[in-house]
Amino acid sequence: MSGTKKGGGQMLRKIVLLIVIGVLSGVSAEAMAQSCSPYSDFLAMNLTDLSTLQVKLTYVGIQDKGIPSVGFSSQVFDPTLFIPFRNPTVDYSNDNAKINTFLASAQELQAVISNVGTLPNVTAGGVATAQFLSFAMVNPVLGNKCFEAVLNDVDTAALFAQLRLAFSNNPTALRRLNDLGCPLTVLDPLRPSDVTAQITTSLSGFRINRATGHFVGVATLTNKSTSPIGGPISLVINLTGNVRLFNVTGTTCGVLPAGLSFIDVPLVGNSLPAGGSAQVTLEILNPDAQVITPTTKVLAGPGAR
């Protein structure tokens, strides 16, 4: 009888112990998930470590419509890696929609870590009182090492300046940063020149591509001036009605009028020589088969379009 009682007590203790271990392990797992590493851990990463680093920029301030987040990595960007580290006091709803991504080399990521390392308000991590932008990093290979700084608007502008420097040779990255920077008004302070008067833009006729349903044509840009025009060169296209440029590089924000589609023109040696020509294919979405009568404008040089 007493043996049975003793056995029952032991069983109860075991059960309680198991429950306590279970609860503690759950808490510790959550605590581990929420705790991130200091910025110095990322500064110490070598190129091999950085090749698996994933970085995400999310607008977390007040908004009346979605603003797509930006993610970059040397690998395929995986937004789900950031979910376990979400801060419950921050609104990450922009991550639930489409995230604009781009590929960054390990060297570029090293430049990001190094440049951002000069911004103490960023490297300190934590959450600013006036939440504006989440700058988050995760390295899934190095034990899910993470970092997050939720910045105010001033520190966001400083962060964007350093990111633009780190990606100065990566046009796609600069474009993606400007796409996010436009609604946040943290654009590249540089502006391209309007070279429309120096360039003749001629458009071909349009025909339908049955595989895509898009109308396709070619824009030919000829430099009619006596000096070369430095790139990048962007063709801004204003279309009317329910006609849209499909293969856009971006939408104007830094130059007026804002909100027009533009496409970068492929150049040899990032320059269009005097008398030289360059061509770009235009894919037009035109579901109602309306006339395609675009007006165009040409921008040249670095800076926010």
Partner: protein, 226 residues
């Protein structure tokens, strides 16, 4: 009643055409021949597309002396502008057909129930300058399969797989041909490539097949000695 109207309109168009044609020697006239012997007996579509950026201002495409000896044509289809003439009536040969540029996208599709060895026609396009800096109007010819997708890839750099295009302009139009189309002056020649390339067994396949058959015969003779 409707046929009367169509006939009257066609007569007017013919009169207009005859009246202007003598003075319109600046038109682009192309003699098109398509060698379809590789797809003889199979079905598909020949599609004439005309995109017009100032609809209703007189641009059109005329298809003259269309002939596909031995081919069987089904009912044609059109999109956009009015198509008048012999091809829309299903005739073969079809001396005269006009596609009006009444809309941005104007299309005549000839449904071939059965291609024969060749087809020929003369394409007549006016040299109209684009209005007010608009892109030029464009004529494009396509060959499609029954599903409406390109019958074979062409050298069209825009991926549309056109056989050739004409950007209508003044004083002359820009004619661009894509392989397998070739051009000699105003003569455009298309040789449709054979379908199902690479399905002919290679010599090694023949060796394997023959040895397999021999082994099968030997095996059968072993189990059935009589």
């Amino acid at each position: 009643m409707r046929n009367w109207r169509r006939l009257r309109r066609l007569s007017l168009l013919l009169l207009l055409y005859c009246g202007t044609h003598a003075s319109a020697f600046g038109d682009t006239l192309l003699n098109v021949s398509i060698n379809t012997s590789a797809i003889n007996g199979s079905s598909g579509k020949l599609v004439f597309d005309l995109t017009v950026n100032a609809p209703g201002t007189g641009d059109h495409a005329i298809i003259e002396n269309f002939s596909a000896p031995g081919a069987t044509l089904g009912l044609p289809e059109t999109l956009g502008g009015l198509v008048s003439g012999d091809l829309i009536l299903g005739l073969n040969p079809a001396p005269f057909t006009i596609i009006d540029g009444d809309f941005f996208f104007n299309e005549l599709t000839l449904n071939f129930i059965k291609f024969s060895n060749s087809l020929t026609f003369v394409l007549d396009l006016p040299n109209l300058a684009p209005l007010g800096g608009n892109p030029p109007d464009e004529f494009a010819l396509f060959m499609l399969n029954k599903a409406g997708l390109p019958l074979f890839p062409t050298g069209d750099p825009l991926g549309a797989n056109a056989l050739f295009t004409v950007d209508v302009g003044s004083p002359s139009s820009l004619i661009t041909v894509f392989s397998p189309t070739t051009r000699s002056g105003n003569n455009l020649s298309v040789v449709v490539p054979g379908q199902g390339n690479g399905q002919v067994p290679e010599p090694s396949t023949w060796v394997l097949l023959t040895s397999g058959l021999i082994l099968l015969i030997l095996y059968r003779s072993n189990i059935n000695p009589q």
